[in-house]
Amino acid sequence: MSDVKKIATRQAYGEALAELGEEFPNLVVMDADLAASTKTAMFGKKFPERFFDAGIAEANMVSMAAGLATTGKTVFASSFAMFATGRAYEQIRNSVGYPKLNVKIAATHGGISVGEDGATHQCIEDVALMRNIPGMVVCVPSDYVEAKAAVRAAIEHEGPVFLRFGRSNVPVINDREDYKFELGKGIVLKEGTDVTIIGTGICVDSVIQAEKMLAEDGINAQIVNIHTIKPIDEELIETCALKTKKIVTVEEHSVIGGLGSAVCDVVCRRCPVPVMKIGVQDVFGTSGSCDVLMHYYRLDAQGVYEQVKEFLGK
């Protein structure tokens, strides 16, 4: 696997903004002193007159973004997921969500894959926080290709969107001819009958690798990439539940309020089947490298493989 191309989704975000700036003259980008890390600096360099660094003041950044949006701008406001959605939660809810303004909260450094910075900077609640806001679209791209497509889709969608990008380099898994991104539509990566494993974000790669290990044990898993957690692809989830009778969700996010919860909301209502939620089990993060932490929290291929086996009682 050493020849697999690895790029961080935040890199895709920065590149996409810089590429799309020309096509969308109303695009405005804001940051809170993290432009080099969130990669919004790439847009800032190319379109300085449409880039605003608010300084270390996330609350003000988000409400200013709302004010800019009232004049017809499409505004991306970026920081680390912790500060964008945590510190400025109420500004997102009241200044952006409630008036349905055209602001995209594009957060990088989501999840425990942030790595060494540790728990204060590892946001594992962002999806839960954003999912609760009426009308907010919540999207967690799985790789470079999907992240780029998601930025365009967010621009073309009128209204608030939350995008979660990661810090670490992750494999490019969607680099294929027939790849198609559509907000709200899940992607079946492999058909199977014994269990459906649904991944989001960088955990989709863990799911793809785990499936191969399960196959060697004679387990035929269906695997699905859910990049849009809200609105979630209910039809697809129901189809999977009816087909495989068991579902596993995988996310580098708290199991409270994230992908697993969103899938359970659908399954409970439409097609009750057992669901196992693989994720961060109601604990804070900790320091360590990305790979070490993905293993420690059992979110790598090995961790997913083992937990699916436990779930299936095999």
Partner: protein, 278 residues
Amino acid sequence: MENLELMKIANKVRQGIIISTHAAKSGHPGGSMSAADIFTYLYFEEMNVNPENPKDPDRDRFSLSKGHTAPGLYSALALKGFFPFEDLITLRHLGSYLQGHPDMKSTPGVDMTTGSLGQGISAAVGMALAGKMDKKDYRVYTLLGDGELEEGQVWEASMYAGFKKLDNLCVIVDNNGLQIDGRIEDVCSPFPIDKKFEAFNFHVINADAHDFDSLRAAFKEARETKGMPTAIICKSVKGKGVSFMENQAGWHGVAPNDEQKEAALEELKKAGEVLCQM
């Protein structure tokens, strides 16, 4: 417009505040009354707005950062012609387009959804940034309470506005001296207010919130100030215009009952009649 005309309108704005909060059986009359003359001056003298075209991209903008004083804003908007004055009695009722706090999506003439303190000034800064970016001539106004100055976000926004030299932005502080828990200097004093805004690179003007000559001079000076935003600190009286409501923190978030409404309207109408004889 002559001061006398503005005074007559402000008197009606105050009547609207009493009528609407009484009908809602809740709301914030105290801070609405202290800001009534400011609302009147903004909508009838200062701002370039047109009720026939409330979304005109070239209009001046107003963000009511002290969003709880929506009854004052609604009353002024109704008198300006954005919607019927009679609808003020639907304030805070289910299905009404007059929400408890300003909602830009439901009320004609409301430029920003506000109510959570500190956010309205940031939105105004965003609008002013957009104006500069688009090379538009419109001005942006935002009204803050003095208690609201305790919110940290106010100073994040002010720091950015001063830094960006947004001379198309005018911040107005309704300095009525009272917040829910009592006198602002007893709760968490924001004084000296003028020196704080000066330190954030604002041009600062002190004015009398209930004297139209003072307001006229202040807003003229603000418009003529280039290279920095302006803050107008307006000394005001909470509950202004109804004797038993004046300077009472208790009237921050309590609506008048039937008896109080009648007494308040009688006093306001008498004051209005006096104005009409002048």
